[in-house]
């Protein structure tokens, strides 16, 4: 993971999308490395948010909370896919079939997009224990 990739993720997490797009668009930023970093950040964030003890209702409630923040999030995030993506962090189920864009009438979003949408939710970090202010700190 390079400093540029880390900076791009940090910009994403603080909702500085201009900087994020700028850094992400730079040649040689290493898209594969960045993708791995986003996934790692998502896993870390999910573990901090839910811990070891949670049930399906906790995940459903969380995803609903995220989707209720805006009409864009409500339509961008497919709740079943988002719940699957979070469950997979805890070793339950697989998202292997979501690695490419999900074709279908409901969503053209990929698992990656679900991860990014949830990661950038305002207030995502508020409920974390005091290990750090973000998953990349």
């Amino acid at each position: 993971v390079t400093d540029e990739q880390t900076a791009a993720l940090r910009a994403l997490l603080v909702d500085d999308m201009d900087t994020h797009h700028l850094l992400f668009a730079r040649p040689g930023v290493g898209k594969a490395g960045y993708t791995a970093l986003v996934t790692a950040a998502f896993c870390e964030a999910a573990e901090r948010r839910f811990g070891a003890r949670h049930d399906a209702a906790d995940l459903a409630g969380f995803v609903a909370d995220v989707r209720s923040r805006s009409n864009r999030l409500a339509s961008d995030i497919d709740p079943l896919i988002a719940e699957r993506v979070i469950r997979a962090v805890f070793g339950s189920g697989s998202v292997g079939d979501l690695s490419d864009a999900v074709a279908g009438p409901r969503s053209s979003c990929s698992a990656r997009w679900q991860q990014m949408s949830i990661l950038t939710m305002p207030g995502w970090t508020r409920s974390w224990p005091a290990r750090g202010s973000s998953p990349i700190s």
Binding site: R67, P79, L80
Partner: protein
């Protein structure tokens, strides 16, 4: 037209359901099995659900309100999160609120039934109606259901 006795039986079943009188509901269900009162009850449940959510949102709601109602519906019991498809459930509620049916939602029968059933119980339970208010609610539902026609009728 359904006989008045069917509506009376269906109303009694709805009352038993809304007051969580499970024994009474089982007894009534066994009594009407195979009769048109069973159809009347099904129609009455759907109608009561529609009235309940319209009263709950009072014509002012956002997409977020519907999402959060469905989340509440899926949170108890925890297995409900796996049984109820959230997008389908949101579609069922929005359609009951008068929005055009969303053909992309592909609502399955289980989600539809659990959404109608669960939302009705949630919304009416939250209101803590008196006996008189509950009777009035059921009477309104019977009146509205009586005006409805199923495709097979």
């Amino acid at each position: 037209m359904m006989p008045d006795t069917d509506w009376a039986d269906a109303a009694a079943m709805l009352r038993a359901k809304l007051t969580s009188d499970e024994r009474g509901l089982r007894r009534l269900t066994a009594q009407v099995a195979g009769r048109s009162a069973a159809d009347a009850y099904s129609l009455l449940l759907t109608t009561a659900f529609g009235i309940a959510v319209r009263q709950y949102f009072r014509d002012r709601y956002t997409a977020a309100d519907v999402i959060l109602l469905v989340a509440k519906l899926r949170s108890d019991p925890p297995e409900a999160a796996e049984t109820i498809d959230p997008v389908g459930a949101e579609s069922v509620i929005r359609t009951a609120l008068g929005e055009p049916n969303d053909p992309d939602a592909e609502t399955d029968d289980t989600t539809r039934a659990l959404t109608e059933d669960g939302s009705l119980m949630l919304v009416i339970g939250d209101r803590q109606l008196t006996d008189e208010e509950l009777d009035a609610f059921i009477a309104d539902a019977v009146t509205e259901a009586g005006k409805a026609r199923r495709p097979s009728q």
